[in-house]
């Protein structure tokens, strides 16, 4: 035996050359035992396969040939050796069954069958035959059984290595296919359909599907292609958590469930699952995130029974799909939140715009309606004053100018309200041009000098003479006019008013400075509010509408700028208008 083993040089480790070993073994045995034929035939569940053969004076024959197990039953010697596991010797074979075998089996007079057992199962047999009349002696065959066993182990080893290699390839293929789906950013429905198709292909199953847990039901995520009777109802009953039913353990305990017809016969729950899926067998694995059960992934109607490897592939697919699902969910939630926030903002903006429009319309209409009675009253007052309606008694003639003055003020108030509402309506629709601030300040200054300034005040413009901004000229004129008119009003006792223009870090800055009454600290917050008339102004008898500064600030903001104020009671105020000078043409010359 030792010699035999050494001579044959059995290699149990290297994959791939098991057949070479077995070939050498049968040749060695045939030559040493002086036999005419020797074959090594493996047995598994379904077939007998010739793994190696020796033919005296000929080439190895029949290698790779397979025979159904039923063939065994017609060969009593072979059957006995396989069932008992003991060496059997005898006469010839029945050579009537296979015409191809007939020449090989012809004239065989003695046969020896050496069963090679791994554990309790006979995994292969060595079949030796002699055409000469020389029966096999037990001693000849002893060592052969152990040597043959080594060869069979080598074969099994080689097969395991092959299986492993196939598994590796399959695993890699699975990963590649799955990651392709995962990376494809498909719509959820398309993703789960593709993933299921892939799983069905990899597990060699008729169908595969993801089932989402919804209350006490599992609802199919998609319609598997050609799902047969299942298309009628894509729902399965989902047993509650803690139930002993197989599906409950899949959903909630992370176990896999493999059911085939014979197993299901004894278990009504499993049978129900098979029945409801109209399947011959089912492999179900959990589909869940780390924390939350989502449902199950199933494959059914396998080609040749589900294996551990199929389970591994399906778990992998379910895990990847859970991650994808989480991604969809997160995206969905984010999109929902974003949409809700956008809706809210839009509704708010619409509401504000509508309120603004209503306010403006109301102001316009109100102003217009106010003008009608004023026209009549002022008109008749002027006629009374001019004497067109006859001579007035002395006392009446004295009050008419008072009424005229008040009506004029009211007229101004209405005009200002109209201007304000018109400007506010226009604020979103600017007529942007290049504005020369120096020229603008001088226009405003000239206009004030001829109207409101009065002899006891002076108005000076200090300007570098070359500052330009991009803005709506009409609106800028309104702003600056308001600021100057404000400064005039707050300087009842006269004094100097100044418009200072300068550049400061990308901004054009216009200061309107007066040395008048100033504004009390408590009045400052009201300054820019509509109708925000100041207590100090009212008590000082300063006329105003309470709209000028509100309008000025709105217009400044609409033109990309700001208005701020610094003031001291009794010392005067400085209103500062800032406008961006970005994009404006700057003149090189200095104003004379």
């Amino acid at each position: 035996m030792t010699n035999l083993a050494r001579t044959v040089k059995v290699d149990l480790v290297s994959p791939g050359d098991a057949h070479q070993i077995m070939g050498r073994l049968v040749r060695f045995a045939a030559e040493n035992l002086d036999v005419d034929r020797c074959t090594l035939t493996s047995l598994d569940q379904n077939v007998l396969r010739v793994e190696a053969s020796y033919e005296r004076g000929g080439e190895p024959d029949f290698v790779g040939h397979e025979y159904e197990m039923t063939w065994l039953e017609r060969q009593p010697l072979l059957l006995e050796a396989v069932t008992t596991g003991a060496i059997v010797t005898g006469g010839g074979f029945d050579n009537a069954t296979d015409p191809a075998l007939r020449p090989a089996l012809l004239d065989v007079r003695h046969t020896a069958i050496v069963p090679l057992s791994i554990g309790e199962t006979v995994g292969a047999v060595l079949i030796l035959s002699r055409k000469t009349d020389r029966p096999f002696a037990a001693i000849e065959l002893e060592g052969l059984q152990q040597l043959g066993l080594l060869a069979v182990l080598a074969l099994r080893n080689a097969r395991l290595v092959d299986d492993l290699r196939t598994s590796q390839h399959r695993g890699l293929d699975s990963l590649t296919l799955m990651s392709r789906h995962v990376a494809s950013s498909m719509e959820p429905a398309a993703f789960f359909e593709k993933m299921s198709e892939t799983v069905a292909g990899l597990a060699q199953a008729g169908h595969a599907a993801f089932w989402q847990l919804a209350g006490d039901e599992l609802v199919a995520m998609h319609q598997p292609a050609d799902a047969g009777a299942l298309t009628r109802d894509m729902r399965l009953a989902a047993p509650p958590p803690g139930s002993t039913e197989g599906l409950s353990r899949v959903i909630y305990s992370g176990q896999a469930l493999r059911i085939s017809k014979p197993e299901a016969d004894d278990d009504p729950h499993l049978e129900a699952v098979l029945m409801s899926m109209h399947a011959t067998d089912v492999l179900a694995v959990p589909w869940r995130t780390a924390a939350v059960p989502l449902g199950i992934l199933t494959a059914w109607d396998s080609a040749s029974g589900f294996t551990d490897q199929d389970e591994w592939i399906m778990r992998l697919a379910a895990r990847a799909s859970a991650l994808v699902w989480q991604g969809y969910e997160a995206e969905h939630r984010a999109a929902d939140l974003q949409a809700a926030e956008l809706d809210r903002l839009e509704a708010h903006a619409t509401r504000m715009a509508e309120l603004e429009r209503q306010k403006t319309e109301f102001l316009q209409l109100a102003s217009h309606e106010l003008r009608a009675p004023m026209t009549l009253v002022s008109g008749y007052l002027s006629m009374l004053e001019e004497g067109s309606l006859g001579v007035l008694p002395e006392q009446a003639a004295r009050v008419v100018p008072l009424m005229t003055a008040r009506m004029r003020h009211m007229g101004q108030l209405v005009d200002r309200m109209l201007t304000t509402s018109r400007m506010e309506l226009r604020a979103g629709n600017l007529d942007i041009r290049d504005v020369d601030l120096d020229a603008l300040a001088r226009t405003v200054s000239d206009s004030a000098a001829s109207t409101v300034l009065g002899a006891h005040r002076t108005l000076a413009v200090h300007s570098p003479g070359h500052l330009h901004v991009r803005a709506d000229p009409e609106q800028l004129e309104t702003i600056l006019g308001n600021l100057v008119s404000n400064a005039v009003k707050y300087s009842p006792d006269g004094g100097e008013i100044r418009i200072d223009i300068r550049e400061e870090a990308g901004w054009a800055v216009v200061d309107v400075i007066d040395h008048g009454l100033g504004i009390a600290d408590e009045d400052l917050p009201k300054l820019f509010q509509p109708f925000g008339r100041l207590q100090s102004a009212v008590s000082a008898g300063i006329e105003g509408t309470g709209l000028g500064l509100h309008l000025s600030r709105s217009l400044a903001v609409a033109n990309g700028g700001t208005i701020e104020v610094t003031s001291r009671r009794g010392e005067g105020s400085t209103f500062t208008l800032r406008l961006p000078i970005r994009g404006a043409r700057q003149a090189g010359s200095v104003h004379a």
Binding site: H368, T375, L376, G379, M383, S388, L418
Partner: protein, 132 residues
């Protein structure tokens, strides 16, 4: 422009009867022959029949807007050449621009136009009528 009698006829179109009457009072005192129309349709009829020398036209009229009246007057040979001055309490720049485009000679805001000012404007535009 004036006919033989030296009479100057004005047509005042305003739905506010009080205001119309006030202006009429002043203009009549200055010797103008003033007719008053309350609606656009009336204004067109009277412009055809009375052949006024000048029309003061309000914009916010019931039924037919002042601009429609103006366009209508401009489209008819009989009234095409009668000068029209808008006299209204609306003062939006868009309206002023539009009325110019439609051929109005001037645009007066009632609240800023006391009766004496209207009489002066009329005198400047036409001639003073012969003293009656």
């Amino acid at each position: 422009m004036l006919d033989a009698s030296g009479e100057i006829r004005l047509l005042l179109v305003d739905d506010d009867a009080d205001v119309a009457e006030m202006y009429e009072l002043q203009l009549s005192a200055h010797g103008y022959q003033v007719s008053i129309a309350r609606t656009g349709a009336e204004a067109i009829d009277m412009a055809r029949s009375a052949a006024p020398h000048l029309i003061y036209l309000d914009l916010g009229l019931p039924g037919m807007h002042g601009f429609e009246v103006l366009a209508h007057l401009r489209s008819e040979p009989d009234t095409r050449d009668i000068p029209v001055v808008i006299l209204t309490n609306f003062s939006e720049p868009e309206l002023i621009e539009r009325s110019r485009a439609l051929g109005a000679r001037d645009y007066l805001v009632k609240a800023h136009t006391p009766p004496a000012a209207l009489a002066a404007a009329t005198r400047n535009r036409l001639l003073a009528p012969k003293a009656s």
